[in-house]
Amino acid sequence: MDEKLATKLGILADAAKYDVSCASSGAPKRKAGKNGLGATAPSGICHAFTPDGRCVSLLKILLTNYCLFDCAYCINRRSSNVPRARFSVEEVVRLTLEFYKRNYIEGLFLSSGIARSPDRTMEEMMRVAKTLRRVHGFRGYIHLKAIPEASPWLIEEAGRYADRLSINLELASGASLKALAPEKNDRTITEAMGQMHERILEARDERRRFSPAGQSTQVIVGADDVKDAAIIRASARLYDDYALKRVYYSAFSPIPEASLLLPAKAPPLRRENRLYQADWLMRFYGFSADEVAESGEDGMLALDVDPKLAWALKHRERFPVDVNRAEREMLLRVPGLGQRAVERILTSRRHQKLRLPDLARLTAGLKRALPFLVTPDHRPVSLIDRLDLRQRLAEPAQQMSLF
């Protein structure tokens, strides 16, 4: 690879790393045809992990980091002094193919600053996807970050080639958006999401290809003073209204050339982690947004215990739960029992009465679950009423260490 291309790659990958989504799952199953290259894996594949512990699944880059907008939280804003670069359509295509052939990546995640005009930028992104599919028979994963201000036909066309289109909400409240992203408009963003949702449904009805892996979005946490409860409720609305596949939460991290409007401090990683846990409770554990939101104090999720444990501690009257008798819904609410453990309990107990040694083989979270469970050889009556239960189960209450 020549040096100029490598330099651009460095700049435009650096600029894209604040977008946390790297999922390559949910695409329709595909194999490389006779002359094609690439396939999709049902659950996605991580090809590497960086020292921040995050997965590298896709080549995640910007087409360009020149931008007309001046959003305070974004390193690529108009007024930042970062070095700028711009890929040509052909360069992105070539990088994707060469990296893919070496098994470095599952596909491409392409985002972009808005250079010249939203349409111009969206069109080039669409052309990257189209060239990969049409000219090179590429059948790997493609995720395009749609530009909400771009014309509908460009987004429509992009959806024919991409597996997933997404639009970033970035800030959970319209007020924050106004303060930190003066040129952006929360209505434009939610309207674009609504249109995207409608298109996805229509295409499914007509058996036409349009963003088959659905849409996702990202919310930045900690750049403004929006509370967790508001974020959780906003996410629940997004899941309900637009059937989003995922809402990603990104702890705001200090960026070089930061704006004066922003907090210069370590990213609230634990808060981010709690929001992901809360999100899981809503999507897979049958919790409502209100239940999750109210498990904390003052609209903020507890940092010392996870939201499921926090909810259980506030609802001690509903525990302990009999492992051999309780329904799935209630087992799912026991701290320490994951979805898979619950399924295993349900099938195993059809064949035998479960005792503690059996449970130990069914879940790795038994220690945490003990105060909330009853088995023939275990009854935690005194434990559940202990006043210091929270302290005994909590992690040390401090910000996760950076190093």
Binding site: N35, P51, G53, R102, R207, P254, R361
Partner: protein, 491 residues
């Protein structure tokens, strides 16, 4: 009964195990009386097995478990599997569902380890491009067929005997590349058609790097956020045993050791006051990106590809609207037909000619009105040699609506005449019944008039109905002329 010993082939000997299992089941040999000797593990006594026995019927989940667990490196794997099968055949049909059973638990763990190993190979294996005869220069990409000018070679050390189980993934994915995977237990080579087994291999210490490895390291380093450094989590996901063959890990030590410094610098540095330019300018620029004239818009439409659903073939080109830009009346049809697509002009086919005649009778000069379609591309079904028009779907109409509305805004006519239900749908955004709503309409912000599409007149079967429908259509056009005239006077 004396103990039976069976020698298994090195590696994952699924066939050998299946054969032994069938014989043991037939002969009712208890698990305690069997010794599976794998990987040179020698036991004391026993005789080799002879002959074949009939297949054993097992639940699908069990056969899947067996196929996975034979790949495990644990010497006891065959013995444990036989124990499981024995119990299942002795009456515990649902044994696999009892995840809390110690044997099931252990086998499930082994299965999980094998699957994880396969998954790791899928993810962490790295190919290097090797130029073979004919010599290709770096960076050239040939994606048509394999003429063995280049081969992609990887060395990988799996934890278990998983090479064969992991290979189909690579064959599906890199179908049109020539590639080889080398492991200490054996190797596999793909030439675009079939997989060929080869002998065990060692890592070639002299293997040349690949021109893209440096670029990949650059990417890997750039995508790391020092403010979130968490090397422990990384090591948990990406076990160190694979690192030796992954080019990017060379960047790790530096990334980790400089992360604290980079973050401290970022936090300490005074935020640079931004050389603010007015946001209005940026927004203005954005607005300028929209088409500024009908000509610009038409250029966009002409450059776009037809949107077609499913297997229906689409047009050769977009058919744009036609007529004077200051026309008082705009006629909106459904979509271009066969003739329109060939000539690239609206309303030139049989329906267009009928419209011409009716307009002339109603006293409307075709040259003074603007004619366009709700959908800009022809969509058809081949019937013999003829291209038969296909009705556009609801979402296609919606897709083109943005263009139609933009077109009408540039024209700002006094009256928009929709010919048929599809055109009315495009303007109103909802399904419209032509028979019920025929006549004056409001299509905000435009004043409108809804009538039939001339092709409807062509399709009527009997002559009498045709004649009266035609008269009604001409009447409608007369009304259109009057309304447009009134609005002209009023303005």
């Amino acid at each position: 009964m004396s103990r039976v010993r069976i020698d298994m082939k090195a590696g994952a000997d699924l066939d050998g195990f299946r054969r032994a299992l069938r014989i043991f089941v037939r002969d009712r040999v208890a698990p305690d009386d069997v010794v599976f000797a794998a990987e040179g593990v020698q036991d004391l006594f026993g005789a080799p097995l002879a002959g074949e026995a009939p297949p054993v019927v097992l639940p699908r989940a069990v056969t899947r478990l067996i196929a996975d667990v034979v790949c495990h490196r644990d010497h006891e794997r065959y013995g444990l599997l036989y124990r499981l099968v024995w119990r299942i055949l002795k009456g515990e049909r649902g044994l696999l569902e009892v995840a809390s059973d110690p044997l099931v638990y252990r086998l499930a763990r082994m299965q999980q380890e094998v699957r994880r190993d396969i998954h790791h190979m899928h993810g962490f294996l790295r190919f290097r491009r090797v130029v073979t005869e004919g010599g290709v220069t770096e960076g050239e990409t040939e994606s048509s067929g394999i003429e063995e000018k280049e081969r992609f070679v990887a060395y990988f050390e799996p934890v278990h005997f998983t090479l064969a189980a992991a290979a189909p993934f690579f064959a599906e994915r890199f179908a049109n590349m020539a590639w080889s995977i080398l492991t200490p237990d054996g190797s596999l080579h793909w030439d675009g058609k079939k997989l060929v087994e080869g002998p065990p291999a060692r890592r070639d210490p002299a293997a040349a790097g690949d021109g893209f490895e440096e670029g990949w390291r650059t990417y890997y380093a750039a995508t790391f956020n020092p403010a979130r450094a968490n090397p422990k989590l990384m090591a948990q996901h990406m076990p160190r045993r694979y690192w030796a063959d992954m080019p990017e890990v060379a960047a790790i030590p530096e990334l980790v050791s400089f992360a604290p410094v980079r973050v401290r610098e970022m936090i300490a540095r005074e935020a640079a006051a931004s050389p603010k330019r007015a946001p209005e300018k940026a927004l203005q620029k954005m607005r300028e990106g929209r088409p500024k004239s009908l000509q610009d818009l038409n250029a966009l439409i002409a450059a776009s590809e037809p949107l077609v659903s499913g297997a229906v073939p689409g047009a050769t080109r977009a058919v744009l609207g036609e007529g004077p830009l200051d026309a008082d009346i705009v006629f909106v049809g459904e979509q271009p037909g066969d003739q329109e697509d060939r000539q690239g002009r609206p309303f030139v086919g049989p329906a267009g000619q009928l419209l011409d005649r009716a307009m002339a009778e109603a006293g409307i000069d075709r040259g003074s009105v603007y004619l366009t379609n709700a959908v800009k591309h022809f969509k058809f079904e081949m019937r013999g040699k003829r291209r038969i028009h296909q009705k556009p779907t609801l979402s296609e109409v919606k897709h083109y609506r943005w263009w139609l509305m933009a077109e009408l805004e540039f024209l700002s006519p006094r009256l928009v005449v929709t010919l048929g239900g599809t055109a009315a749908l495009a303007l109103s955004g909802r399904q419209v019944s032509v028979t019920k709503m025929r006549g004056r309409q409001e299509f905000p912000p435009f004043a409108g008039f809804l009538t039939v599409h001339p092709s409807y007149l062509l399709r009527l079967p009997d002559a009498e109905a045709k004649a009266s429908a035609y008269c009604a259509f001409v009447d409608d056009l007369r009304q259109v002329r009057e309304i447009a005239g009134e609005r002209l006077k009023a303005a």
